[in-house]
C-alpha cells in the first residue's frame, strides 16, 4: 500500500525534522543525513554513548588530519 508507505515516510520525515531542530538547538553540528544515519543506527540497537564516541573520534581525527 503506497499510502501507508507514504505515511510512514512522512512520519519519519517529521521525526527527523524535530530531531534536526533539537540538534540545532544543542549545536551538535550534525547534518540531516548524519542525523538520520544516527537514528537508524540507534534504532538498530547501537549504544548511543558509543555512537557519540565514534562521531567525536571521527571528527577529531579529521580535524587533526586537516590541520596537519
Amino acid at each position: 500500500m503506497p499510502t501507508e508507505a507514504d505515511n510512514k515516510r512522512q512520519a519519519a520525515r517529521d521525526v527527523i525534522d524535530i530531531l534536526e531542530d533539537i540538534s540545532k538547538i544543542l549545536n551538535t553540528n550534525l547534518n540531516r543525513t548524519e542525523l538520520s544515519l544516527c537514528v537508524s543506527l540507534i534504532e538498530n540497537g547501537v549504544n548511543p554513548d558509543a555512537l557519540a564516541a565514534v562521531i567525536k573520534d571521527l571528527r577529531k581525527e579529521t580535524a587533526t588530519m586537516n590541520r596537519s
Binding site: 540507534i42 538498530n44 565514534v54
Partner: protein
C-alpha cells in the same frame, strides 16, 4: 545482552549505516594527501587511500562500539545500572531532562528550554522511533562535545565553557600525560570531563585518587578565590562552576561517592554529622522557602522578616541570612504581583515582574530537582556525608541563587520606588536604571523590564500620533485632558479645542523621550484631534491612520523618530492645508486687515462720508438697518465689491453698548465675524483686540475727516466770506489755521505711523511667519498673536503705561497717562477745537451778513436820498440782530452779542459787548490750542523714552523741526510726580495767561502772532528745563 545479539544477527544494517556515517563525516582526501604514493594513477590511488582510511575508521568505530556494549551490560548491579537499563521509559525522560537542564543553564533566557520541551513533546507523540531516548542522548553527548569547539566562543554564559572547562583541563591533563597518547578515543572522552559517563569512569582506571583530588582541590580553591574577591563577576563564574557540579551530580554522584575523596568544603569547620542532617533538612525545605512559604525551620514572621532557628552554627546562619534575602524578596514581589490597582503601566510592570518571577520559580524548580536528587542519593547510599558528595550544599544554593537574588533585589527596589509613581514617571524610573546604572547586569535587566513596561505607553503613543485619540484611562500619558477651564476668562472657552483640550504634562514625560520630541508628539496628536473634531475631516484622519499606523516598540529609537517625524510633517501639512483651503484662514486675515485695520482706504472713506451725518446724531438714534445699508453702499461703491462674498458676508456694522450722552461716532463699530475653527487662530480675544484697534483708528480717521472738512471750509471761506471780515477776525483765523494745520500734521503723522510703521510691518512679519514651509498651527497662532500684540502695543494702544517699566506704583497713580488716553484726550481737544473754529466761522459769517445788510441798507437809503446811517437805526437794528441770531449756524452763546460791530457805529459800549463775545471765542480757541500743545509735549516726551525704536521714531517725525519741547519725564516717586503735575498745571495756566494777553494785545494787529508765540515759548524753554531739573 540484547545489543550484542543484535550485533551478531543484524550486523549488516548497522555496518552499512555506520560506514555511510563514516563516509559523511570524513571529508574527501585531497590529492596532496598522496605525497608518498606513486602517481601512476592518482585517482585510483586516491580511492585506495580513501578505502583504506575508511576501513580503518570503520574498524575503530566498531571497536569503540564493541567496547561500549559489554561495559554497559557487564555490571548491571552497580548503581549506574539504573542508567544502564536502556529501554526504560524513565530513561527517555532522563535524557530529555538532561538536555533541558543543560539548555537552561547555558542560556540566560528559558526560551530554548521551552522550545526544546515543545519539540520533545512533539517527538513523544511520534510512533516511529522506539529508541527516542537514545537519539536524544546522542544529541546531548554531541552537544557536550561541541562546547569544546573553539568556535563556540560566543556562548560565554555556558558553564562548561569557562570554569568547567578549565577545571576539566586541569583535572584531565595530568592523567593524559601519564597515560601517553596511546588510546586516543579514551583520551578524547576524558577530555570532555572527568565524569562523562559512569561507565567510562568505571572502566578506565585512570581516575586514581591523587588526580581526582587535585582536580577537586582546584575546584575548592576556585571557590575560595571567588569568596575572597567577592566580585560579582567571579561569583557568577563560581555559580557556573556550581552548575557544572550540578551536572556532574546528575550523572555520577553515585560513581563518585566511592571513587573520590570528600569534597573539601570551605564551610566544613563544624561537626559534620549534626550540621549535615540539619543542612539536609534545610536543603529539603529550601525550595519552599524560596517560594516564600514557611517551613519548620524557617518561619516567615511577617511579610518582611524570616525567623531563623537559633541553634545553628554561625556559618550556617550567615548562609541562611543570604538565602533569606531571595525568600523575602520573592514573597514581597509575589504579593505585589497579586495586587491589581494602578494604571496600565503599573499593570504591565506587574506582568513583567510576574514573568521574571516565573523564571525565578523555574530556577527554584531546578534547584529542587537537584536537591531531591542529592537527597535521594544520600538515601540510596546511606552515606552521612552524601550531601557534600552530591555537591548540593547550602553554600551552593546561595551561589546559584545569586543572580536571581540580584534580579529580585532590583525588582523590589523598582517596586518600592514605583509606589507613588505612575505612567511616564515609572518608565523614567526604570529607564534610569537601564541607562545610568553602572552594573551591566542591572542595565540589562532593567532594559528587559522596560521592553514590557513601555508596551502600554507605546500603545498610547501610537493611538495618539496616528489617530489623535487619547486612550489613557489612568492618566499615565504625558498628554492629559485639559482641566475644566470654566473659571477662566469666558472669552477663551471657544478656543479650548486647540489650546486647552489637551495639555502637555511635564511630570509624566518619560525620560526615554526628549522634550522636543514630546512637543512634537503632543502637537501631532493635538492636530489630528483638531482635524477630526474641529475641522470635520475625520475621513482623512481615518485614512491616514490606516495607512501610516505601525507598531511602536521600545528599543528602535531611530525608527520611532523617523515615523514620528513623518507623522509630524504629514499632519502639519494637512492642517495648514485645511486652514488655508477649506477655512480660508489667510483670506480672513487679509480681510481683517483690510476692513478692521482700515487697509481698504476707499471703502473706509466712503463709509465715513456716508455715515458722517448719521453718526453725528446721538447714539440712541442710530439704527442698525441704516448702518448696514450704509455699509452695503460703501461695499458696493468701493473696491471691496470684488472681495469674495464669503468675506463680505462676515462684515457687519453695529453699535457698541449704548451709554447715555454719546453720539454715534463713539459707539459705531465694524465687525468681522469669525467662526470655528478659524477662531483658534483669530481668537475671540484677538477679535476684541481688532475691534479696539478699529475703534481707535476709526476715531483718528474721524478726526482727520473733521479737520480736513474744517480746513476746506476755512480755505474756501478765506476767499469769500472771511476776506470781508479780515479786519476784525483775520488774526484769529490765521491763528486758527495754524493750529488746525498743526493738528492735521499730527493726525497725518499718527496715521502714517500706524499704517506704515505698525500695521504694514507687522503684517509683513506675519506673512513671513505663516508662509514658512514647516509652519504649524501653533506657529500660526503665535505669529498672529505677535502681530496683534505689536499692533496694539506699537499702535499706542498698549495697556496703561508700560513706559515706566519698573515703577508700577507710578503707573498705578496715573492710569490716565497711558498713550491711549492721552491720544483720546488730544483727539477730543481737536474735536472741541473744531467746534470752536466752527463757532468762529459762524461768527464771521454773521458779521459778514450784518455788514452786507448794513451796506445794502445804506445803499438803498442813499438811493432814496436820505442819510445812509441815522441814529434811529441803531435801536431797531439791535432788536433785529437779536432776532436774527436764531439762524442755526450761530451758537447760542454768541446770540445777541453781535450786531453792534459795525465800522460806522463803533460806540464804546458796543465795542465792549462785541469784544466780550469774540473774546470768549478767542479764549476758548487759545485754551484749546495751548492744551493741545502741552498734551502733545507730554506725549512726545513719553515717546522719546520708549524702548521701541518705532515709537521713538514717531516722536521724532512729529517734532522733526523742534517746534515742540517734549516734556522730559523722570522716573520719580509719587509725590515728586504730583509736584510735576502741579508744575505742569502752573505752566499751562501761565501759558494760557500769556497767550490771552498776547491775543488781547494783538486783537487788531495784523502781524502774525504765531512767530511771537513761538518766540515766547522759546523764552520759556530754559525755565521749563530748570523746573524739570528741580523736579
Amino acid at each position: 545482552m540484547s545489543t550484542s545479539t543484535r550485533q551478531t544477527t543484524r550486523p549488516r544494517r548497522i555496518d552499512d549505516a555506520l560506514s555511510q556515517l563514516v563516509d559523511s563525516l570524513t571529508p574527501a582526501l585531497p590529492i596532496s594527501a598522496l605525497q608518498d604514493e606513486d602517481y601512476s594513477d592518482p585517482e585510483e590511488a586516491l580511492a585506495a587511500t580513501e578505502e583504506r582510511r575508511h576501513n580503518a575508521y570503520l574498524e575503530r568505530a566498531w571497536r569503540i562500539i564493541d567496547t561500549h556494549v559489554p561495559s554497559n551490560t557487564a555490571d548491571p548491579g552497580s548503581p549506574s545500572g539504573r542508567r544502564g537499563s536502556f529501554a526504560g521509559t524513565e530513561n527517555v525522560n532522563n535524557a530529555a531532562d538532561l538536555i533541558k537542564r543543560k539548555l537552561r543553564r547555558e542560556n540566560a533566557s528559558p526560551e530554548l528550554a521551552v522550545k526544546f520541551s515543545n519539540m520533545y513533546s512533539k517527538l513523544l507523540t511520534q510512533p516511529v522511533l522506539s529508541q527516542k531516548w537514545g537519539i536524544l542522548y546522542l544529541l546531548y553527548k554531541l552537544s557536550d562535545e561541541n562546547e569544546f569547539a573553539p568556535e563556540q566562543g560566543e556562548r560565554s554564559r555556558s558553564p562548561l565553557m569557562d570554569d568547567g572547562n578549565l577545571q576539566n583541563m586541569l583535572g584531565g591533563r595530568a592523567p593524559r600525560s601519564r597515560r601517553g597518547t596511546g588510546s586516543r578515543p579514551f583520551d578524547s572522552e576524558d577530555d570532555e570531563g572527568p565524569a562523562v559517563s559512569s561507565s567510562a569512569s568505571q572502566r578506565i582506571p585512570l581516575s586514581s585518587k591523587p588526580e581526582r583530588q587535585s582536580s577537586l582541590r582546584q575546584d575548592g580553591m576556585e571557590q575560595l578565590n571567588t569568596r575572597r574577591s567577592g566580585e560579582r563577576m567571579r561569583e557568577e563564574r563560581a555559580s557556573r562552576a556550581g552548575n557544572y557540579e550540578a551536572v556532574l551530580t546528575d550523572r555520577e554522584s553515585d560513581g563518585r561517592a566511592d571513587a573520590a575523596s570528600p569534597l573539601p568544603s570551605a564551610a566544613a569547620t563544624f561537626s559534620p554529622s549534626r550540621s549535615e542532617s540539619f543542612e539536609n533538612g534545610l536543603l529539603r525545605d529550601l525550595p519552599f522557602n524560596l517560594q516564600g512559604l514557611s517551613s519548620t525551620n524557617l518561619q516567615f514572621q511577617s511579610a518582611s522578616s524570616l525567623k531563623l532557628p537559633s541553634n545553628l552554627p554561625a556559618p550556617i546562619i550567615s548562609l541562611l541570612n543570604s538565602l533569606a534575602e531571595p525568600c523575602l524578596l520573592y514573597k514581597g514581589l509575589s504579593a505585589f504581583v497579586e495586587t491589581t490597582e494602578g494604571g496600565l503601566v503599573n499593570q504591565s510592570l506587574r506582568a513583567a515582574i510576574a514573568n521574571e518571577l516565573r523564571s525565578y520559580l523555574s530556577l527554584v524548580a531546578t534547584l529542587e530537582a537537584e536537591i531531591r536528587q542529592a537527597l535521594a542519593a544520600i538515601g540510596d547510599a546511606n552515606e552521612p556525608k552524601g550531601v557534600r558528595k552530591g555537591g548540593v550544599t547550602l553554600k551552593r544554593c546561595v551561589v546559584w541563587t545569586r543572580d536571581a537574588t540580584m534580579a529580585l533585589r532590583l525588582m523590589s527596589l523598582i517596586v518600592e520606588e514605583s509606589k507613588d509613581k505612575k505612567g511616564g514617571q515609572l518608565i523614567s524610573l526604570i529607564h534610569g536604571f537601564s541607562s545610568s546604572h553602572g552594573d551591566p547586569f542591572v542595565c540589562a535587566f532593567a532594559e528587559k523590564l522596560l521592553a514590557h513596561v513601555t508596551q502600554p505607553f507605546y500603545d498610547m503613543l501610537r493611538s495618539w500620533i496616528y489617530d489623535g485619540e487619547l486612550s489613557d484611562p489612568y492618566e499615565e500619558f504625558f498628554v492629559a485632558e485639559g482641566k475644566g477651564t470654566s473659571d477662566e476668562d469666558p472669552r477663551r472657552i471657544a478656543t479650548s479645542v486647540w489650546d486647552t483640550k489637551y495639555v502637555l504634562d511635564e511630570k509624566m514625560l518619560p525620560s526615554i523621550i526628549t522634550e522636543e520630541f514630546a512637543n512634537k508628539v503632543f502637537l501631532i496628536g493635538k492636530s489630528l484631534n483638531f482635524i477630526r473634531y474641529a475641522c470635520g475631516d475625520s475621513a482623512w484622519v481615518e485614512a491616514y491612520s490606516k495607512e501610516a499606523s505601525k507598531e511602536l516598540k521600545y528599543g528602535d529609537t531611530a525608527t520611532l523618530e523617523i515615523s514620528i517625524d513623518e507623522a509630524y510633517k504629514t499632519t502639519m501639512a494637512r492642517l495648514i492645508h485645511l486652514m488655508d483651503n477649506k477655512f480660508k484662514l489667510f483670506d480672513h486675515l487679509q480681510a481683517l486687515k483690510k476692513y478692521l485695520l482700515l487697509g481698504q482706504g476707499d471703502f473706509i472713506a466712503l463709509l465715513m462720508e456716508s455715515l458722517a451725518s448719521n453718526l453725528d446724531r446721538p447714539a440712541n438714534s442710530q439704527y442698525r438697518h441704516t448702518l448696514t445699508a450704509q455699509l452695503e453702499h460703501a461695499i458696493r461703491a468701493s473696491n471691496a465689491q470684488y472681495d469674495p462674498p464669503d468675506v463680505l458676508r462676515r462684515l457687519d456694522a453695529r453699535m457698541l453698548e449704548l451709554s447715555h450722552g454719546e453720539i454715534g461716532w463713539d459707539c459705531f463699530t465694524l465687525e468681522y465675524k469669525i467662526d470655528a475653527p478659524v477662531d483658534v487662530v483669530i481668537t475671540p480675544y484677538g477679535s476684541t483686540q481688532y475691534l479696539k484697534v478699529f475703534n481707535f483708528l476709526w476715531r483718528v480717521k474721524r478726526v482727520e475727516f473733521v479737520l480736513s472738512s474744517t480746513w476746506r471750509r476755512c480755505m474756501t471761506g478765506a476767499r469769500g466770506v472771511l476776506a470781508h471780515v479780515d479786519d476784525k477776525v483775520g488774526p484769529d483765523w490765521k491763528r486758527a489755521r495754524c493750529v488746525i494745520a498743526e493738528m492735521i500734521h499730527f493726525v497725518c503723522q499718527l496715521q502714517h505711523y500706524i499704517v506704515f510703521e505698525v500695521i504694514e510691518s507687522s503684517w509683513d512679519t506675519l506673512q513671513a511667519a505663516i508662509s514658512k514651509p514647516d509652519c504649524t498651527l501653533d506657529d500660526l497662532i503665535m505669529a498672529h498673536k505677535e502681530y496683534l500684540n505689536s499692533i496694539t502695543h506699537k499702535g499706542l494702544l498698549g495697556s496703561a503705561s508700560p513706559r515706566y517699566g519698573s515703577s508700577t506704583s507710578n503707573s498705578a497713580k496715573q492710569p490716565e497717562e497711558s498713550f491711549l488716553s492721552q491720544l483720546h484726550q488730544i483727539l477730543k481737544i481737536m474735536l472741541s477745537y473744531k467746534d470752536a473754529v466752527d463757532g468762529l466761522y459762524s461768527f464771521s459769517v454773521a458779521e459778514f451778513t450784518r455788514r452786507e445788510e448794513l451796506s445794502a441798507k445804506i445803499e438803498t437809503r442813499t438811493a432814496q436820498g436820505r442819510w445812509g446811517v441815522t441814529d434811529r437805526d441803531l435801536n431797531p437794528r439791535r432788536a433785529n440782530s437779536r432776532g436774527g441770531t436764531s439762524t442755526p449756524d450761530i451758537r447760542p452763546a454768541s446770540a445777541g452779542l453781535d450786531g453792534f460791530d459795525t465800522p460806522v457805529t463803533l460806540s464804546a459800549q458796543d465795542l465792549a459787548a462785541d469784544d466780550h463775545m469774540l473774546a470768549s471765542l478767542r479764549v476758548r480757541l487759545r485754551d484749546l490750542s495751548a492744551d493741545f500743545r502741552s498734551r502733545l509735549n507730554i506725549l512726545l516726551g513719553d515717546l522719546a523714552y520708549q524702548p521701541d525704536v518705532d515709537m521713538r521714531f514717531l516722536g521724532v517725525v512729529m517734532n522733526f523741526n523742534d517746534v515742540y519741547e517734549p516734556v522730559k519725564r523722570r522716573r520719580a516717586a509719587g509725590p515728586s510726580s504730583r509736584d510735576k503735575e502741579k508744575e505742569r498745571e502752573r505752566e499751562r495756566a501761565k501759558r494760557r495767561a500769556a497767550a490771552a494777553a498776547q491775543a488781547n494785545g494783538s486783537g487788531t494787529e495784523g502781524s502774525g502772532s504765531i512767530p511771537r508765540e513761538t518766540r515766547r515759548e522759546r523764552k520759556e524753554f530754559p525755565e521749563q528745563v530748570a523746573n524739570g531739573a528741580v523736579a
